[in-house]
């Protein structure tokens, strides 16, 4: 390598061009998709989730009977009695239909709070992480306050004080999830902000908004989204717990948690039927848990 030559001549520049191997480049999301397609467990449970969502959406058309129709004559009948495929509850309503319809509220109360928390907590976290200083301290100390409560206690306290009901329950759950999401977002943003390419973007004259949009968000959204997706299963559990305690959905709306609470009285009469709504909660929560785990593994690519 001639170090004494001061000018790079044409031949050398050409040589630099030619010694580069060909390589197909795949985007990040395409790689994630490829990895997911090779993960049978995640795919299987993703299908389960899709099925649950579909059933809930199509409830009006696929439920065999009216979930609200009570019948004093046919209370607490066992599985398979007449056209009560899974038996009837303490007011004579068809359990299968109520299970199908119940999916709606359970999914709603599971997903909406996490989505709201993602929006609010994510924004707060990114702002706190990027701006730093006093703003950061203020926001994070506020979040620390909420961390002093165990999640269930906080959810029960807030929705209990507000008087119960589905909307109050969703508000309570959102407030439970905002601090952890904010914390994850802030930590990721702080980390990204210190990296060289963000400094280079600032040196190029990018405005704060432009840098956050182009450089920070792309690198922060991943971990935050994965974390939030892991919260969905917790949200479903706590939400149904609230309904079980009488703090969430109000009767006579069909809801899995609420059904567990009312069917409890009949535990000696028709034991296994009472367990069915809980099974639904379990399967839904489990599916979300496994899918979010699989997502995390697929997205954890060393780049």
């Amino acid at each position: 390598m001639t170090m004494t030559s001061a000018t790079l001549d044409l031949a050398q520049l050409k040589a630099m061009h030619d010694d580069q191997p060909a390589m197909i480049s795949r985007g990040y999301w395409r790689t994630v998709g490829a990895r997911l397609s090779r993960d049978p467990v995640t795919l299987c449970f993703a299908t389960v989730i899709a099925a649950i969502v579909l059933i809930a959406l199509l409830a009006p058309w696929i439920a065999p009977k009216d979930p609200f129709k009570t019948s004093m004559a046919y209370r607490l009948k066992p599985m398979g009695f007449r056209d009560f495929l899974l038996g009837s509850d303490e007011l004579g309503r068809d359990i299968l239909s109520r299970l199908i319809w119940g999916g709606r509220t359970s999914l709603l109360m599971g997903l909406v709070p996490v989505a709201v928390a993602l929006l609010i907590g994510g924004t707060l976290g990114v702002v706190a992480g990027y701006v730093g200083g006093g703003v950061n301290m203020l926001i994070m100390r506020l979040m620390d306050l909420f961390y002093a409560f165990p999640s269930i206690l906080l959810a029960v306290a807030i929705s209990g004080a507000m008087g119960g009901g589905m909307v109050n329950g969703m508000i309570a759950l959102s407030m439970v999830f905002i601090p952890p999401i904010c914390r994850v977002a802030e930590s990721a943003t702080t980390q990204v902000r210190g990296l060289d390419f963000v400094e280079a973007a600032r040196a190029s004259g990018g405005s704060t908004g432009s840098i956050i949009a182009h450089h920070v968000l792309g690198n922060v959204l991943g971990p935050v989204f994965i974390y939030a997706s892991g919260l969905v299963s917790v949200s479903i559990l706590i939400a149904s717990g609230l309904s079980f305690l009488g703090l969430g959905v109000e009767p006579p709306t069909p809801d899995w948690g609420l059904m567990l609470s009312t069917l409890r009285q009949a535990i000696y009469v028709n034991p296994w039927v009472c367990a069915l709504p809980g099974l639904a909660i379990f399967i839904t929560s489990l599916s979300f848990n496994l899918v979010s785990d699989g997502l995390r593994q697929a997205m954890d690519i060393r780049m």
Binding site: D144, L145, A148, F149, P150, S151, I152, L153, V156, A157, I158, G160, A161, M162, G163, G164, S233, V234, L237, S240, G241, F244, L245, G246, L247, G257, L260, R264, I267, Y268, P271, W272, C274, A275, P277, G278, L279, I281, F282, S285, L286, N289, L290, D293
Partner: protein, 318 residues
């Protein structure tokens, strides 16, 4: 080191204050006039006036808070609307019952989880590892009150071995460890409460031990000729602080989050008390219970924090 301890304890004070503020603020979340909530429906006009003055409802909110705080610090959390008994007394009675459950559940969960988690980490990829992972995932996905119901169905309804609800024969509320009647009642609730901590501690142990086993110093130990059992002992000792921390936190969660399991089993602990208070709109009890439970949680977090620093010298957050 002691300056760190002092600083950490002092830092907990504003958190405790903030918690108390939130608890105080709960009243204002409730629909309706706060005064109506503190009094039974048939209160006379006189009683209303007295309460107004006593609680300072005619004063601005910050002063109300300070008045409430002052009383709370001396132990006066008001009277229960339902049975006119002092709130603190009710809460403390219930607390002892909850502590029994939580402590037992955490101890059993920890012992089991630690052993299984370590075995899983050592035989990584083996049957036990996969079983442990599966159990952990299921443990955190199962609604624990449903699990309680299923256990009741199996052991009470179908098999009739164990009682379904309550704490002792004829709904007695004193608990004695050596009374088999009481123990019978406690078995199912404890087992139900175990599930979630079991899953979480198993997962933490497995990942902590696996991580330590991967470190270079373990290779050094093996190269020195140390037997496998001794190597595992070393690894476990390094992973212990992390696991103990999680265990402490889980205890805190159980204390604060026992409401669902206690409701299913009608176990007269703080969770059950809380539920009753919500159903009867007994706000003083609601407030008092939440305050006590969250302060206990703050205290448990603090102890876990300090214990971790004491055990693991690397963690010395400035």
């Amino acid at each position: 080191m002691w300056s760190y301890v002092l600083r950490r304890v002092l830092f907990a004070v504003p958190i405790a204050l903030g918690v108390s503020m939130l608890c105080f603020g709960l009243i204002f979340l409730a629909p309706g006039n706060p005064m109506q909530l503190l009094l039974p429906a048939d209160a006379t006009a006189e009683a209303i006036e007295i309460i107004k003055k006593a609680y300072g409802f005619d004063k601005p909110i910050p002063l109300q808070y300070l008045a409430w705080l002052q009383k709370a610090v001396t132990g006066d959390l008001g009277l229960s609307i339902a049975n006119r008994r002092p709130v603190l007394e009710e809460v403390l009675n219930a607390l002892s019952n909850t502590v029994v459950l939580s402590l037992a559940a955490v101890t059993i969960a920890f012992s089991l989880a630690f052993v299984l988690g370590t075995i899983a980490a050592y035989f990584r990829g083996g049957v036990i590892d996969r079983g442990v992972t599966a159990m952990s995932v299921m443990g955190v996905s199962v609604p624990n009150y449903w699990l309680g119901m299923v256990l009741i169905i199996i052991f009470s309804v179908e098999l009739g071995w164990l009682p379904a609800t309550g704490m002792g024969a004829q709904g007695s509320t004193d608990f004695s460890l050596f009374n088999w009647e009481n123990m019978k009642h406690a078995i199912l609730p404890i087992f139900t409460l175990c599930m979630i901590p079991l899953g979480i501690i198993m997962r933490t142990t497995r990942s902590a031990v696996a991580e330590v086993l991967n470190l270079d110093f373990v290779q050094t130990l093996r190269a020195k000729g140390l037997g496998e059992l001794a190597v595992v002992r070393h690894a476990v000792r390094n992973a212990l602080p992390q696991v103990l921390a999680v265990m402490g936190l889980q205890f805190g969660y159980l204390m604060g989050g026992s409401i669902l399991v206690e409701t299913i089993f009608t176990w007269p602990g703080t969770g059950f008390l809380l539920h009753k208070a919500i159903l009867t709109r007994d706000l003083p009890v609601l407030q008092g219970t939440i305050l006590v439970l969250s302060l206990i949680f703050v205290a448990v977090n603090l102890i876990v924090d300090l214990a971790q620093t004491w055990v693991d010298p690397r963690i010395k957050r400035a």
